[in-house]
């Protein structure tokens, strides 16, 4: 049942459920409520589900004002407009002012598909990661998102949620998984290389680990769902065992998960790191699988980088 839902449906339905019990939660959209699944909330809560029109900067600062008045605003739009377009409003109205606003960006990176290069945000994590005091969270699947939502709402501070809208590849088992914000998930243990992955690249990294297994390589797979603050302990502990790493993300290799992992490891436990992600170029129109092929972000690319990383370790 849960796995039949799109991510935006999980997000919106869980938000609606929480709004029933928490009068301070408020939803604001910028003319993309229909796209982001939140349109129906205004039927139930017309006063607490706002739409400011195509005015993202206004949305961010209005949310800050509402937060200063005791509300918990969730604002949503596509990733590029939720981040790079309103970088200063996030920085000053929200982060510097320490306002409890949850910023939800949808369709990260290649997920924008037919909206093309203008809508494909591969810099959003880098933009937000450089702003002090904001948590960055990227869910993997419906199971993780459903468990994350109450913890997101309970966290008293600004957060950027990087949300894949549609149905992702299923990763987490509903019966056994227990989500903990800020705590990376060790999905598969290994000894030769660690694959650090986030978002849609978690399932791809797991597939790569299977391919590596066929080659006699034991890969550990870690889901870094909270990119900032990154779970340093888990990251360091994993490479203490494996001795090298590959980061896997639907983002520019500059500024995102790869950079975050490199910052931790270069300071605390230097090991070879290879990066799978967009190699500093703008994206194009297309479906996700061919885009991943073209921009070298597939399971085979992860395998290649893993073997390179292991080779570097041996030198």
């Amino acid at each position: 049942m849960l796995l039949d839902l799109e991510m935006r449906q999980v997000y919106a339905s869980e938000l609606l459920r929480m709004m029933e019990i928490d009068e301070s939660i408020i939803v604001i959209d910028a003319d993309l409520a229909r796209a982001n699944g939140t349109l129906g909330i205004r039927d139930r809560f017309p006063d607490r589900a706002l739409d400011v029109g195509v005015a993202e900067a206004n949305m961010a600062s209005i949310a800050a004002g509402l937060a200063s008045y005791g509300f918990k605003p969730f604002i949503s739009t596509f990733c590029p407009f939720a981040t790079r377009r309103i970088c200063d409003q996030i920085t000053i109205s929200i982060a510097y002012a320490k306002q409890n606003v949850k910023i939800v960006g949808t369709e990260p990176g290649v997920a924008a598909e037919f909206n093309g290069g203008t809508h494909m945000s591969i810099e959003d994590v880098g933009v937000v990661r450089s702003i002090p005091g904001i948590v960055i969270f990227e869910p993997v699947d419906q199971v993780q998102l459903l468990q994350a939502m109450p913890q997101i709402a309970a966290y008293d501070g600004p957060m950027y949620i990087r949300l894949f809208r549609k149905k992702p590849t299923h990763v987490f088992d509903e019966a056994t998984y227990r989500f903990e914000l800020f705590k990376a998930d060790l999905l598969q243990e290994g000894t030769d290389v660690t694959l650090f992955a986030t978002g849609i690249h978690v399932s791809i990294a797991l597939e790569a680990a299977e391919l590596l297994k066929e080659k006699g390589v034991s890969a550990e797979v870690v889901n870094v769902h909270t990119i900032k603050p990154i779970d340093k302990d888990t990251v360091i502990r994993s490479v203490q065992k494996t001795g090298c790493a590959v980061t896997c993300e639907n983002h520019n290799i500059y500024g995102g998960l790869g950079s975050a992992v490199a910052e931790v490891l270069s300071e605390h436990h230097p090991v070879p790191i290879k990066y799978v992600g967009v190699d500093d170029s703008f994206l194009i129109v297309g479906k996700i699988p061919p885009l991943l092929e073209k921009f070298h972000m597939t399971k085979n690319d992860i395998v290649d980088k893993a073997l390179e990383s292991i080779e570097m370790k041996r030198k």
């Binding site: 408020i26 206004n58 800050a64 008045y69 409003q89 000053i92």
Partner: protein, 277 residues
């Protein structure tokens, strides 16, 4: 602290300018022009209209004020000090290392500041958010905000203007400190705002224009704005940048952020004290 007579309000304006100039003069530099042009409206607001308790500056249900032109912070700090929310002796820490009184208003540093501002254009949106919040809570609070004329170049001001009217925010009263100057020159030469009143009216606001240094005119305009139902109100204040000290007024075209020598510091204080407060 309510002031009943206009003569007493005028006196309070002189005192606030004195405290503001003393703080900036002690430091030797500051946003003098835009602080002084705003003083009269701030005084009328804080001593006649804003419902708040200086002893409980974070009290629920209080009226809010967002100084969207955050660089006028020094004038607001003088008013907060006069209300005892901060100590008057603290005014001399203006813009010093680790001060609670930074150049631009900061809600997390300064008691009595309702919203952090400084990046122009954002404060009005924050005020709109607060006004929406007050409507949802039905707590009867009013939200006041002051924007600058240069600040009105920002597109976000007009995003906020549209939305406030769309939401019929009659609990929102905004001032434009129309001192006709921005950093690079006169507003009419950089990015003209006229017809400024008609612009706001066309955006769905009630708008009027008054002498921003006439406390009676400002007071009556706020009273009229409070009575308006169904739409937000804009009060355009015709002001002079640096109003209150003759030699600062004389350089009205270049007093946004000015150096103040010790001699000027003394002379300015003497001029303000001459008429008494």
């Amino acid at each position: 602290m309510t002031i009943d007579t206009y003569a007493a309000l005028e006196k309070k304006c002189r005192e606030v300018r004195y405290l503001t100039f003393d703080a900036i003069g002690t430091l030797g530099v500051g946003h003098l022009g835009g602080s002084f042009s705003a003083v009269d409206a701030l005084v009328v607001l804080y001593y006649r209209h804003l419902r708040f308790d200086p002893k409980q500056p974070k009290m629920e249900g209080r009226d809010r004020f967002v100084l969207s032109k955050g660089h006028a912070g020094p004038a607001l700090y003088a008013i907060l000090a006069d209300h005892g929310i901060i100590d008057k002796s603290e005014l001399s820490t203006l813009n010093r290392h680790e001060t609670r009184l930074p150049s631009h208003a900061d809600m997390n540093r300064t008691p009595g500041i309702d919203m952090t501002t400084g990046s122009l254009g954002q404060g009005l949106s924050c005020a709109v958010g607060i006004a929406v919040g007050s409507k949802i809570k039905k707590d009867g609070a009013r939200v006041y905000c002051m924007i600058g004329d240069g600040e009105s170049n920002e597109g976000q001001i007009w995003e906020a203007a549209m939305y406030a009217a769309h939401m019929h925010l009659d609990n929102l009263i905004v001032f434009t400190d129309y001192n006709k100057m921005q950093v690079d020159g006169q507003t009419k030469d950089i990015l003209g705002l006229e017809p400024i009143c008609d612009k706001w009216i066309s955006f769905g606001w009630n708008a009027e224009r008054v002498d921003g240094h006439d406390v009676k005119a400002i007071d009556e305009a706020i009273d009229r704005a409070k009575a308006i139902k169904g739409k937000p109100c804009m009060i355009i204040l015709d002001t002079l940048k640096g109003k209150g000290i003759s030699f600062i007024e004389e350089i009205w075209q270049n007093n946004h952020n000015v150096n103040v020598t010790p001699v000027q510091h003394e002379a300015g204080l003497a001029e303000l004290a001459k008429e008494g407060f």
